[in-house]
């Protein structure tokens, strides 16, 4: 059984505050009971499951949508209060009965969501007592719940702070460790680089010394600077040939060269003839066969 108490005003009597208690089982659609009181008198009434369905079909509304609308009107206090209005009017048929109606106010028109007959309670003090007791119970319950939540919150905050502190420590530790490792790494690395620098220096020093020695040796060995050693000159000019050289080759190389030359020339008869008849052409033939080889 759920209960909800709220404050409302009646359209026909705006100056007075009424207390409306709605009680229901599970869902408002299953029907509900209401208790109304203005502090002096009290009225009670009931709406059955069938009444709700009938009310919904009368308004040509889906039941779920209708119940939703009912909830907004009767239970939820969050919606602006002026959207829904209530009225309590004396029933013309019976002096003991009143009609409690609830309406939804739209821009220009308002439409009735529902109404029920409520009857005057003989002993309103009892009803009012019950109302107050329910409210007090609710308040106590809320307070207990509130305290519990606050404690829980406090615990979570403590845990959070604790965790944060630890995380902070770990992160700082990681940062320090990293920095320390990098520091040591750079120290060792720089020592190696220093060594490499030293070795490099030594290498270039010794290279310099070597080239200096070479230069010194050269200057000691060689003739005055505007002449070039013969050996080097020979090397450079070897590719070219002069008449004198060919002649000198002819004289020096003849015994070695002439034999294979003859063997080759033997295969070319007319050349052989010319070779035998005209000795003067020999130098030309020699160069010819040399390129052949």
């Amino acid at each position: 059984m759920e209960k909800k108490v709220r404050k409302i005003t009646m359209n026909s009597n705006l100056g007075i505050t009424y207390f409306l208690q709605v009680s229901w089982k599970e869902d408002l659609g299953n029907g509900f009971a209401i208790t109304l009181s203005n502090g002096h008198s009290a009225w009670i009434g009931e709406v059955s499951d069938n009444d709700v369905s009938k009310e919904a079909s009368d308004m040509e509304m889906d039941k779920i949508a209708y119940v939703d609308e009912l909830k907004k009107a009767m239970i939820l206090t969050a919606t602006p209060s002026n959207k829904y209005t209530f009225d309590l009017i004396k029933d013309e048929e019976s002096s003991e009965q009143y009609i409690f109606s609830y309406e939804k106010k739209l821009k220009e028109v308002s439409f009735k969501i529902g109404s029920l007959k409520v009857r005057n309670v003989n002993n309103p003090a009892e009803v009012i007592n019950e109302l107050i007791e329910h409210c007090l119970n609710c308040a106590t319950e809320l307070q207990i719940n509130n305290e519990h939540l606050q404690k829980e919150n406090e615990r979570l905050r403590c845990d959070w702070n604790d965790m944060h502190e630890k995380l902070n420590k770990y992160v700082s530790g990681k940062e320090e460790l990293e920095q320390e490792l990098y520091t040591r790494f750079t120290c060792v690395l720089n020592k190696k680089k220093e060594k490499i620098r030293n070795l490099k220096e030594k290498l270039s020093e010794s290279q310099q010394r070597e080239t200096q020695q070479k230069i010194q040796q050269k200057s000691q060995d060689s003739v005055p600077f505007d002449t070039v050693p013969i050996s080097e000159l020979k090397d450079e000019d070897y590719g070219g040939s002069t008449d004198e050289e060919v002649k000198s080759q002819k004289t020096t190389l003849q015994p070695d060269l002439i034999l294979p030359l003859r063997r080759q020339l033997g295969k070319i008869p007319h050349l052989k003839e010319r070779l035998c008849t005209n000795q003067k052409t020999l130098p030309i033939l020699m160069t010819f066969s040399l390129t052949f080889n």
Binding site: H164, E180, T183, R184, V188, K191, K192, E194
Partner: protein, 259 residues
């Protein structure tokens, strides 16, 4: 005198043992030396190969001050016994080196004891690092960033934010630590940033690269006003930038997280 010589690895080598270790007494060590053919003297002289010290006492300190003998840890001796060979000295064996040994070591090792020529390994490097406890001056953080960039370590997940200097919007009044917002999610983001290499600063100053803002956007206008006065413009990003970068293990482009 009636010692049974088991090994000749220390044959005719003269030692002077100053003190023992927790496990072996001075005479234990002397006995072991003798078994290996070594000679033990009580005072180091000209022919003494080295002084062995298990623990440092006044006599050892005096010898160090005299700077005439090498003082070697007893661990070296034990290593020799264990391996049954004459283990070459390494920097971590040495308590003190006389000038000639020092010179010899200087050719082989740097001043921290890391070899110039032999590869190192995790264990050895750890050893070297452990002996470097006296280093006071730490490398600045930006140098770490440079190092990582040079050796391409900057894609490690621990250095995602290395190039970033970040102010986290965790004060209700900018730059005022007294107005710290407690148990804020941004605090965790700040720690995450630091863990992944960022420099998190507590004042929104010239030079920062990012400002991290959470759900509360009320100070953004003020930050932007401040930014107008800065030469180096920082980016104002939402915490999603951090979360996404971490999730993907890679720095995400700030542009989709700008506020």
């Amino acid at each position: 005198t009636n010692i049974h010589v088991e090994s000749t690895m220390f044959e005719d080598v003269e030692f002077c043992v100053m003190s023992g270790t927790n496990e072996y007494t001075k005479s234990d060590l002397e006995g072991k030396i003798a078994i290996c053919g070594g000679v033990v003297v009580q005072n180091p002289g000209e022919d003494t190969y080295c002084v062995i010290a298990g623990s440092q006492n006044v006599r050892v300190k005096n010898l160090i001050a005299a700077n005439k003998h090498d003082v070697v840890k007893a661990e070296w001796l034990l290593e020799c016994f264990e391996n049954k060979t004459f283990v070459p000295w390494q920097p971590h064996h040495m308590i003190h080196m006389c000038p000639s040994t020092r010179e010899h070591f200087a050719c082989e090792y740097d001043c921290y004891g890391d070899s110039y020529f032999t590869d190192t390994n995790e264990h050895q490097l750890k050893d070297v690092f452990n002996r470097m406890s006296s280093i006071q001056e730490k490398v600045p953080l930006d140098m770490i960033a440079d190092l990582e960039q040079r050796y391409s370590w900057d894609d490690s997940s621990y250095s995602i934010f290395r190039q970033c200097m970040i102010y986290v919007d965790s004060f209700t009044s900018i730059n005022d630590p007294n107005t710290k917002i407690h148990t804020s999610r941004l605090d965790v983001r700040a720690l995450e940033l630091r863990f992944h290499g960022a420099t998190v600063v507590s004042s929104l100053k010239e030079g920062i690269s990012h400002v991290l803002v959470g759900e509360d956007h009320s100070r953004i206008d003020e930050m932007k006003a401040l930014r107008r006065t800065f030469t180096k413009k920082f980016k104002i990003v939402s915490e999603l930038w951090v979360l996404d970068s971490l999730k993907l293990g890679k720095l995400q482009n700030e542009n989709q997280y700008l506020l």
